[in-house]
């Protein structure tokens, strides 16, 4: 930390002051601004002291990636280029992170899947790359809308996975994300997910931190593994590569290293709670019915809860902010009195419901759904109808369901 602290108060070449991140995020004056989610990404990156960004065009993240190119042209990013595919881009990001750079990239849906081989490698190599995932459908038929299926895969990679609801979340979490993922006891990549289009392409009021403040630069020598820059001694890493052996040492090494990656995910919990004020937010958690949701399903659920409240039905809400680390204890606590737990999702498999089911006691209380597929919109009415069905309250027929 000493090396980073020594930058605080100095100016970068754009005359931004390297600022204590806690002060910058929690105390400095904010300016309300009316921006699209993509523009918000640009404004966060402008203040993030990134060394390298690698871009590849895919809807809906293309606009954000291109806007970051403008930041490079203005001198806010060390280097920027377009890679040849998402697989290559994520490897280029890895190379830059191995070389000690703070790295930023973005992807979506099919691009996430194409790049997938890289993500467990990032985590295993302890590269604190930040990747924005603007979710998009991945299965056939083709969709460019925000289906969240890809998050199910990302959750198994060893990366930190956060799911933003709003553009404001997005802005704050990009900057806070580096602070958490670069901690020496964490030092893992972060997949910062949002529901594409709903967040990236709509305008919202966002409170921005001062434009003349930025994060202190990344210090690669706080990494728990050596930075590949030949600035520290090149040890002969092992007597024999582990791939060649099925002996005790190889078993022990693989087991301990892979468990260490997941232990690092767990260790991120304390930093994340501090920076994000908890892994979940709750509203009206005493109600008999609780909706557990992440991403824009939270916003839609809030609308549904308002509709039901008008009809005299009380429903609580749990907003899940981080998926890795998984807020299991928090969700158990928040839902312990609930008779019904409703989990609406923008994907067909219901990965959030599976996680919740594996977490809570008496998990027959968990109702997976409603689900919308291919990134189609989820009207609050279908969430309200689902809740009424669960409660045995007769719901009026919804359009399209027949009379």
């Amino acid at each position: 930390m000493a090396a980073q602290a020594s930058f605080i108060g100095q100016k970068n070449k754009k005359e931004q002051v390297y600022t204590d991140p806690w002060h910058m995020m929690n105390e400095a004056a904010r300016t309300p601004s009316f921006f699209t989610g993509s523009e918000v990404i640009k404004e966060a990156v402008r203040r993030a002291s990134c060394d390298i960004m690698v871009a590849y065009p895919i809807t809906p993240q293309s606009e954000a990636a291109a806007l970051c190119g403008e930041l490079f042209a203005e001198g806010y990013i060390g280097d920027y280029f377009r890679g040849e595919s998402e697989f290559a881009v994520m490897s280029q990001c890895a190379g830059a992170a191995f070389g000690g750079a703070r790295v930023f990239t973005t992807t979506a849906g099919p691009g996430t899947m194409r790049a997938m081989e890289n993500f467990p490698m990032w985590a295993g190599a302890r590269l604190p790359i930040q990747m924005i995932v603007t979710c998009r459908g991945i299965n056939s038929p083709l969709s460019i809308q925000p289906d969240t299926l890809e998050i199910a895969y990302l959750m198994q990679t060893g990366m930190l996975v956060w799911h933003a609801e709003t553009a404001q979340d997005f802005y704050d979490w990009i900057l806070k994300g580096y602070m958490v993922s670069e901690e020496p006891d964490v030092h893992l990549p972060l997949a910062l997910c949002c529901d594409g289009f709903f967040v990236t392409h709509t305008k919202d009021m966002v409170d921005l931190t001062p434009v003349d403040m930025c994060l202190p630069p990344y210090d690669p020598y706080r990494s728990p593994v050596p930075c590949m820059d030949m600035e520290c001694p090149p040890v002969r890493m092992m007597r024999d590569p582990f791939v060649m052996k099925s002996n005790y040492i190889s078993y022990a090494t693989h087991a301990s290293w892979q468990q260490e990656v997941w232990a690092a995910v767990e260790r991120s919990r304390k930093h994340t709670i501090r920076w994000m004020d908890g892994l979940i937010d709750t509203e009206n958690a005493d109600a008999d019915v609780i909706v557990v949701a992440s991403g824009t399903a939270v916003s839609q659920s809030r609308e549904a809860i308002a509709i039901l409240e008008d009809e005299g039905i009380q429903v609580g809400l749990v907003k899940v902010k981080t998926l890795r680390p998984w807020p299991g204890e928090e969700i158990r606590e928040a839902t312990k009195h609930a008779k019904h737990i409703i989990v609406p999702e923008f994907n067909v498999i219901g990965w959030l419901a599976r996680e919740v089911r594996s977490t809570v006691q008496n998990n027959e209380r968990v109702h997976a759904g409603p689900h919308v597929c291919g990134g189609m919109t989820m009207p609050p009415e279908i969430i309200a109808a689902e809740i009424k069905t669960v409660l045995g309250v007769k719901a009026p027929s919804l359009a399209g369901r027949g009379g």
Binding site: D79, F87, A88, F98, A101, V103, D229, R236, P241
Partner: protein, 302 residues
């Protein structure tokens, strides 16, 4: 440029591994004239390896590591395959990440090092097999060249997938019968050196590793040109003696047979105009250095 960064604290010197002590005392870091003739006299950057007995790849590794002009500021990038069994023994930082993505890793790495160390040379050298370079990684190999990324790509061409047991690769000769080519490979060996030239490489060499002095020269040229001008490519024949049915002592002869003027590894070289100018400058400096050394020697003896 020196061994400053690898020094051991005096109090701890005696408890460090013998080979690390040796690295500090006898490695050729910082010696700009280092080369293959140091092998056996100085601490090598690779000593042991986990390849088959007599594997020409092990010779190639030793020549290359002895010839890197700036090992104390060189980072190597490998890929999955026989080479990835050697890299853990190598005393320069090296990265193995995935199979085939080596030139993408190197692109990000080189740019990061350039951003972080704008006033110093940090060389990046990729070393991967032919499957990684020409088959699964071809896209990233070529795209790095199109983008004029400033690092050297070395392909150890053994004309098949050696590490997985001898399957057909794009660099295999037409007609060769191998696993996954049960009736013989049906298409020609991919002409990557020519493709490299057309893709923007400034220095391309196709040869065997039978002659250490030649390898020293092409490695130094390739690294210097990559550092100053743009991408360079070396395709080195390192036959897999196991998979072509040779014995441990027959690797060298196999290379000599394959580099005859009419054979596929006859020495071929392409040097771009800017690279020619750079090499001429470097040769002139070397000549001046030698003349100066000679003058000093004459002065001393006079």
């Amino acid at each position: 440029m020196s061994k400053e960064r690898i020094q051991i604290a005096e109090e701890l010197f005696d408890i460090m591994p013998a080979e690390y002590q040796d690295l500090v005392k006898r490695a050729t870091y910082g010696n700009e004239q280092r080369g293959w003739k140091d092998i056996g006299n100085a601490k090598e950057l690779i000593e042991e390896h986990s390849l088959c007995a007599g594997c020409p790849e092990s010779m190639a590794f030793r020549y290359i590591l002895a010839s890197l002009p700036n090992p104390e500021d060189t980072v190597m990038v490998g890929s999955t395959g026989c080479t990835s069994l050697v890299f853990p023994h190598v005393a320069v930082h090296n990265i193995h990440s995935l199979f085939g993505n080596q030139n993408a890793i190197a692109s990000g790495l080189k740019r990061a090092l350039t951003v972080r160390f704008p006033d110093r040379h940090k060389d990046v050298v990729v070393l991967a097999g032919d499957g990684a370079t020409v088959d699964i990684g071809l896209d990233m190999t070529l795209q790095a060249w199109f983008r004029q990324e400033k690092f050297t790509t070395i392909c150890f061409d053994n004309e098949l997938y050696a590490n997985t047991g001898g399957q057909e690769s794009g660099l295999m000769q037409k007609g060769f019968v191998a696993k996954m080519a049960p009736v013989g490979k049906t298409f020609e060996k991919v002409r990557l050196p020519e493709i490299a030239r057309e893709s923007g490489c400034h220095y391309v060499v196709n040869c065997t590793v039978s002659k250490p002095n030649l390898i020293e020269k092409v490695i130094k040229n390739a690294v210097h040109i990559a550092r100053e001008i743009g991408p360079t490519y070396l395709q080195l024949y390192t036959p897999c003696i196991l998979e072509i049915g040779k014995n441990s002592m027959e690797g060298l002869q196999e290379m000599r047979d394959s580099e005859k003027p009419t054979e596929r590894f006859a020495y071929k070289e392409y040097v771009s105009e800017p690279a020619k100018e750079l090499l001429a400058e470097l040769a002139a400096k070397e000549k001046e250095r030698k003349a100066e050394a000679k003058r000093q020697l004459a002065g001393q003896s006079a």
